[in-house]
């Protein structure tokens, strides 16, 4: 028997390359439309682009001007108020609903979809609904007056100082049910025998949750935080539909700021700079989280 050495045939070699060939369109799109565009926008943020992109390098001038703008500071401060309230309230409501719903509640199957359906709606729809519900002329204030509570006043949406809180209300309405679902999944994943053991050890319900259950929900807290924070930074549609950024500029967020400076105020360089700052803040939250999640999986 003589030894022959078989060479890979064409089909075998093609099979070796097919996976990469199949993946390549998506990867190419990603590199162009995501990372290429990011690089391009970062580049624009260092140019004097106004109505149209220009390629004249001006260094960090746009960033200096951006941080000197009252409107940008308003947007950043609004985001700070909105994001912190939104995250805290959503988490609190979501966790409470999840814990209560986990107590062998009759009608749980009916309540869960009621809590969750707002997530299926567009922020534009949510904004439209709440815009009129909170409108002093036809909304809650009017209703309370008609029900006999003459002194009731609720006109935050028209109030420069309070309007940002109406955004929080609408946003919480839309997403808190989803946070509930995340916590509920976490609760259902906890080993029942451990809870029984804690009760035999004499833990009260309050201590059971405070000392055992809630610490075990750490991953759900983390996921909820990351998702909510990233939604908050990206919030755009809700502002447009609910307040249009007003009254005045009182409810501008970075996302609406970027849009108006880039496309209506002909300051593309500054718009690009604000987009870069938004990207950086999201990257600061997402990267460690994704990194940890992907590592864990291996």
């Amino acid at each position: 028997m003589a030894t022959t050495r078989a060479q890979p045939d064409f089909r075998t070699r093609l099979q070796d390359w097919l996976p990469r060939i199949v993946l390549s369109p998506s990867i190419a799109m990603m590199f162009v439309f995501v990372y290429g565009f990011i690089v391009f926008t970062i580049y624009l943020s260092f140019t004097d682009s106004r109505m149209l992109p220009s390629y004249d390098w001006v260094g960090i001038e746009n960033y200096v001007r951006l941080w000197g703008l009252r409107a940008w500071w308003t947007a950043v401060i609004n985001l700070g108020i909105f994001a912190s309230l939104y995250i805290v309230i959503c988490t609190a409501i979501g966790l409470s609903l999840a814990i209560f719903l986990d107590q062998k509640i009759r009608g749980e199957g009916l309540l869960r979809p009621i809590y969750l359906y707002p997530m299926a709606l567009s922020f534009i729809v949510t904004g439209t609904a709440w815009k009129w519900i909170m409108d002093p002329g036809i909304g809650i204030e009017n209703t309370m007056h008609l029900w006999g509570w003459e002194s009731f006043e609720f006109r935050w949406i028209k109030d420069r100082d309070m309007a940002i809180y109406t955004v929080v209300i609408a946003a919480v309405w839309q997403t808190s049910g989803f946070v509930m679902a995340m916590f509920l999944a976490g609760l259902r994943g906890i080993d029942n025998e451990m809870l029984k053991a804690a009760q035999i050890d004499g833990a009260s319900n309050w201590n059971l949750y405070r000392r055992i259950v809630i610490p075990l929900l750490r991953p759900a807290f983390l996921s909820a935080f990351v998702i909510l924070a990233h939604l908050a930074i990206k919030s755009y549609d809700l502002i447009v539909a609910l307040t249009g950024g007003g009254p005045g500029r009182a409810t501008e967020l970075p996302a609406t700021f970027m849009y108006s400076y880039t496309f209506t105020r002909n300051s593309m360089g500054i718009g690009a700079a604000s987009a870069v700052i938004m990207l950086m803040s999201i990257a600061a939250i997402m990267t460690p989280y994704l990194y940890a999640e992907l590592r864990e999986k291996k």
Partner: protein, 370 residues
């Protein structure tokens, strides 16, 4: 040159070499079992033969044709997987004939091959079911049917019985052996179960740490293990290995070691070449069945040594009674007849079949040969 040749086959992931220069020539019709603990490289080697893992260096050849670069489907091999890997969306019949279909075998021929295999494995009545509707043993049969129908040069089995319960495993083991005897095909079989290796194989390769520790017939491996690893891995309960010294008395080498009370006892070796180790430390290996009650001792042995020692624990196991004692500072197990009169804590007269005793070099852990 064998039918299936593994020549200097090496596997490395980056800088980590997991399989070191493996050399095995498998003859046509042989049943080779690769056995070893998990992580020893046995599955990697099997996957290399199948073409599911690349060969870093060295060659794998079937009938003299080096197939390192040949696609798995063109090596003319078939494989039975640990999880059976039955396609959940296809019926049993479709599962079995999928490979033939992919190889462009005409429908009529496929139907004939299916019928033959189904009859051979007695799964005729299952052909229209989906894998999800089958029991573990039935799935196992279907997985074998899928391999058999291809009529390959080499069958590869990757721990095929490890997902079955104990009783079924024994039945299927017999079944596989029968199939091999009937069909006479070349088989490479991976398992971590040394009993499967002993019962099924015509030859065994014991693997550990990416090396083939010993390649030989089941009897070779059992009676003349190359080193302490092979000696203790093969056989259940494992071979007793105790530190001892060689002492030559009356020109005959003896093993000197401490009994349960710390008193030195001498056990005469049957191997004269151990005289060269006079005064040196060795590891003494004695299988449990070589430590018995005097009436249970092997009558054909030319060298039964008496040993009086204190019994630690007795474990009646039905057919035998196992006795644990301290010997050479270690726990040693002896295998008594079921009705031997033994009780924990008592002194007992054991009979040791020193003809089967093996001495290992404590430095290299290799068997000391003449």
């Amino acid at each position: 040159m064998g039918f299936l040749d593994i020549r200097n086959a090496t596997k490395a992931y980056g800088n980590v070499e997991v399989l070191h220069r493996v050399d095995i020539a498998v003859e046509e019709g042989e049943f080779l079992v690769l056995v070893g603990p998990s992580g020893c490289g046995k599955s990697t080697l099997l996957n290399m033969i199948a073409g599911l893992e690349t060969v870093t260096s060295g060659d794998i050849a079937i009938q003299g044709r080096v197939i390192n670069n040949v696609h798995p489907s063109k090596r003319n091999i078939a494989m039975v997987f640990q999880s059976y890997a039955l396609y959940p969306n296809m019926t049993v019949a479709q599962n079995i004939t999928f490979g033939l279909e992919m190889h462009g075998v005409p429908k009529a021929e496929r139907a004939r091959a299916l019928e033959d295999v189904a009859q051979l494995l007695q799964i005729d009545h299952l052909l229209d079911r989906k894998p999800g509707q089958l029991s573990g043993g039935q799935r196992q049969r279907v997985a074998m049917g899928r391999a058999l129908v291809r009529d390959p040069d080499v069958f590869l089995f990757d721990e095929p019985l490890s997902n079955l319960d104990a009783k079924l495993r024994v039945d299927m083991r017999t079944e596989i052996k029968k199939l091999h005897q009937k069909l006479g095909r070349t088989i490479v079989y991976v398992t971590h179960d040394q009993i499967e290796a002993m019962t099924l194989s015509t030859r065994i390769a014991v693997m550990y740490g990416g090396h083939v520790q010993q390649l030989g017939t089941p009897k070779d491996i059992y009676d003349a293990p190359e080193n302490v690893f092979v000696a203790t891995f093969m056989g259940s309960p494992a071979m007793n290995v105790m530190p001892a010294k060689v002492r030559v008395a009356d020109g005959v080498p003896h093993a000197a070691l401490a009994d349960a009370e710390g008193q030195e006892v001498l056990l005469r070796f049957s191997q004269p070449h151990l005289a060269a180790w006079d005064g040196r430390d060795i590891l003494l290996g004695i299988r449990p069945e070589a430590i018995t009650d005097p009436d249970g001792a092997d009558r054909n042995s030319s060298n039964i040594e008496p040993l009086r020692n204190r019994i630690g624990v007795t474990e009646p196991a039905g057919a035998d009674t196992f006795v644990t004692m301290t010997l050479g500072g270690k726990d040693a197990i002896g295998r008594m007849r079921a009705d031997a009169q033994v009780a924990a804590g008592e002194m007992f007269d054991f009979a040791i079949n020193m003809e089967k005793a093996i001495a290992f070099d404590p430095q290299t852990e290799a068997r000391i040969k003449p």
